[in-house]
Symmetry: C2
Subunit: 338 residues, 2 copies
DNA sequence: AGCGCAAAGTAAACCGGTTCAGTAAATCGG
DNA sequence: CCGATTTACTGAACCGGTTTACTTTGCGCT
C-alpha cells in the first residue's frame, strides 16, 4: 500500500506539501497539483484513516450504545442516528449492552480510549452511581430516551408525561374508570412519567370513581405475556382497559389475549405506546401513543455535536419531543354489566 | 491524558517494558509489575486505541453494510453480527446504503483506508460490474443474503430455493392451482431462487393445471401494496393464493387486503417469507417461511474471520442456511366456485 | 576464576499521517 | 537595482503506541 511519502516522492515534492494540498491548507500552481494528482492516481493512494486519526486526535466516529438493536424502536433509532452521522461523514460504532451494567460501564471507556469522539447512550436501568459517575467523566455524551439520575449531560426524551396523558384521557373519554397500567420498573423515569401523565389524563375527565391498577416490569414481550396472564387469571372485577406502555409489552399482551380468546376491544380496551411495530395490522389494529423515533435519533446526534451548555445554567439541558395518539380499533366503551 | 511514557516514567521503567508487560509478552518480577500497576492506577491511564491500531496495522473493527437498518430483517441481522463481534472484542462500524450504489462503492474503501479490517456486505442490487470489481479488490469481505455476480468472496445465503419449495408445496397441498408470486426484481438472485423453488414445490404436488403469475418488485411495503391493488383490481379469474416473498411485501399486501375487505384465507390464501416481524399477531396469523436470521449474522462474521479458501477451488465458497415453514392461519383450501 | 546462560530490562525504529516554523526564489514598487 | 513581499514549498517534531535487536547484571557450575 502506497503512503504519503510514496506519493510525495513520485510527485517530486515533500510529504508536507501533499498533505496540506489534500487538506486544502495550501494553494498550489496547476503543474504541481497535477503532478500530485497523477501520483495519487498512479499509486492508487488512499490515506490511512488510523494515522490520520492518531495525528488529529479524533476518531471521526461516534459510539451508540443501546440495550438491544433488534427491537423496532431501537433499530429505527439506530437507523436515524446512522443517517445523520453519515451526513456528517462520521462513522458509527454500534454496541448492544443487553442491559448489562458492566458492558455499559466498559463501553463508556471508548471515548477515553479514543475509539469514539462522543457517545449516545440509552439504558434501561437508571439508578446506578458508578454509571452516572462514569458518564459524567467519560467525555462528550448525551443520554436519550431514559434518564440516568445524577448525570450532568444533555438529555433527550420523548414527552412521556404527555403520552400518558393522551392515553388516559382517551380511555376516560371512552368511559373507562377501572384501568390497568402495564410497564416501567421502579427506577425508570419514563415509566413514572407515563404513569403520572396517565393519571392526570384520566382525572381530567373523570375525577371520581377511578381505579387504576399497575403491573410493573421491563419493556419486554415476556413481561407483556405475564401481565396478560395475571389479568386473565382474575375471574371478576377486571379492569376494562389496559395501557401497555411499549410495543413489546403490547405484543406479549396481544399474544396471550388472543390465545385465551379474549376479544379486543369488546372484552377489554387496549392502548399501546411506541407505535414503531406494524400495530395497524394487528387484530384489531392497536390504538397507540406514537413516539417520534426518527426525530429522536437525529436530534440526539445534533445535541451531541452542536450543543454548547449555558455557563450560567446549573441544571443539565433536557429536551422533550412531542408524541401523538394514533386512534385505531382497540378501544371501545366498556360493556356495562358488572 | 496520561500516555505510556508517563506511566513508564512514574514506574521507573521504559515505555517498552510497560507496553510488553501490558501485552503479556514480558514476564516481570512482582515488584516491577506492581510499580507499573500502581502508576497506571495513579495516572488513570487508558491506552490510546488509535495509536495502537496504527501501530498494529489493524483497526479491530469490522464494517457492516446493509441497505437499511430499520427493517426487522436487517436489524435482527445487525444485532446478531454485533453480538458475535462483541464476543471477539471487535467494534462494529455500521453503514446503511439505502441501496445507493455510490455509497456501496465508497464504503468499500473503508477497508483500504484502514477503517475496518473486513466487511460484511448486503446489497439489494446485484448486477454491477464496478461493484463486483471493487468487492474483489477491497480486501476481506463476505457477501450475504443476496448474491453479487462475478465476485470471488465467500457467500452466505438462506436456502431460498428450499423456502420457495416449502411455500409452493404447502399451497399446492392445500389445493391451490392458480397462484401469484410477488417479489424479486430481475437481477436479484434470491427472488429467482425462491421463484424456482416455488414452481418446483408446486409441480411436485400438482403437475397439470398449474397457473403461476408473478409480480416483480423490490422487497418493500409499497411494492406489496401495489401488488395487492393490482390483484384486487382484477374482478375475475384471480389467483387463489399469494406468496409474498418478504415481510415488507406481506405487510403492504395485508394492509390493502384489509382495507378493501378481502378476507384471508377465505378469499385468498397467503404465505409470507422472512418471518421476522410479529406475523403471528396479524389478522389472521401469517403462514410463512422463516429465515434463520440470527444464525445468518453469526455465521457471516465467522466466515469473514475464520474462512480460509481452498487453494484448489476456483469457485467462491457458498454456504446455504436452512429455512422452515411456520404454519399459521393464512392458508386454506380455495373455495370451489369459479 | 571464568564461562555460559537466564533474567530483566531497554534504545530506537516504525506505523502514516498533520503541522509549526521556516527557507529559497521570484516578483514588485520605487 | 535594492529591499520588501509574496509564492512555493519543506524539515523535523509530534500523535502514542508496538517490536526488534540488543545490553546489562547476577547466578550456577566446573
Amino acid at each position: 500500500m502506497a503512503n504519503l511519502q510514496d506519493v510525495a516522492r513520485l510527485a517530486n515534492v515533500s510529504k508536507t506539501t501533499v498533505s496540506r494540498y489534500l487538506n486544502g491548507s495550501l494553494d498550489l500552481p496547476k503543474r504541481t497539483a497535477d503532478a500530485i494528482d497523477t501520483a495519487i492516481e498512479e499509486l492508487n493512494y488512499v490515506p490511512n484513516a488510523q494515522a490520520r486519526r492518531l495525528s488529529l486526535g479524533r476518531s471521526e466516529t461516534i459510539a451508540l450504545m443501546v440495550p438491544d438493536i433488534s427491537t423496532p424502536f431501537f433499530s429505527t433509532f439506530v437507523a436515524s442516528v446512522e443517517a445523520e452521522a453519515d451526513r456528517r461523514n462520521l462513522s458509527l460504532s454500534l454496541h448492544a449492552t443487553l442491559n448489562r451494567r458492566e458492558r455499559e460501564i466498559s463501553y463508556l471507556d471508548h471515548i477515553r480510549q479514543g475509539r469514539a469522539d462522543g457517545l449516545i447512550f440509552i439504558t434501561n436501568h437508571a439508578g446506578d452511581a458508578t454509571l452516572s459517575e462514569k458518564i459524567n467523566t467519560a467525555g462528550p455524551c448525551v443520554v436519550v430516551d431514559e434518564d440516568v439520575a445524577a448525570t450532568h449531560v444533555p438529555k433527550l426524551f420523548c414527552d412521556n408525561d404527555a403520552g400518558g396523558y393522551l392515553a388516559g384521557r382517551h380511555l376516560a373519554l371512552n368511559g373507562h374508570r377501572h384501568l390497568l397500567f402495564v410497564g416501567g420498573v421502579d427506577e425508570m423515569i419514563s415509566g413514572e412519567r407515563r404513569h403520572k401523565g396517565f393519571l392526570r389524563g384520566l382525572r381530567e375527565v373523570a375525577d371520581t370513581d377511578l381505579r387504576v391498577e399497575r403491573i410493573s416490569g421491563p419493556y419486554t414481550v415476556e413481561a407483556g405475556r405475564e401481565a396478560a396472564r395475571k389479568f386473565i387469571s382474575r375471574s371478576d372485577d377486571r379492569p376494562t382497559a389496559i395501557f401497555a406502555t411499549s410495543d413489546e409489552l403490547l405484543i406479549g399482551l396481544y399474544e396471550v389475549l388472543g390465545e385465551t380468546g379474549m376479544s379486543v376491544p369488546r372484552d377489554v380496551s387496549v392502548v399501546g405506546f411506541d407505535d414503531v411495530s406494524p400495530l395497524h395490522l394487528f387484530a384489531p389494529a392497536v390504538t397507540a401513543v406514537r413516539q417520534p423515533v426518527r426525530e429522536l435519533g437525529k436530534r440526539a446526534l445534533e445535541l451531541l455535536l452542536d450543543f454548547k451548555p449555558d455557563a450560567d445554567s446549573t441544571l443539565p439541558h433536557e429536551e422533550l419531543l412531542p408524541v401523538t395518539l394514533i386512534e385505531r380499533d382497540s378501544v371501545a366503551p366498556p360493556i356495562r354489566n358488572a
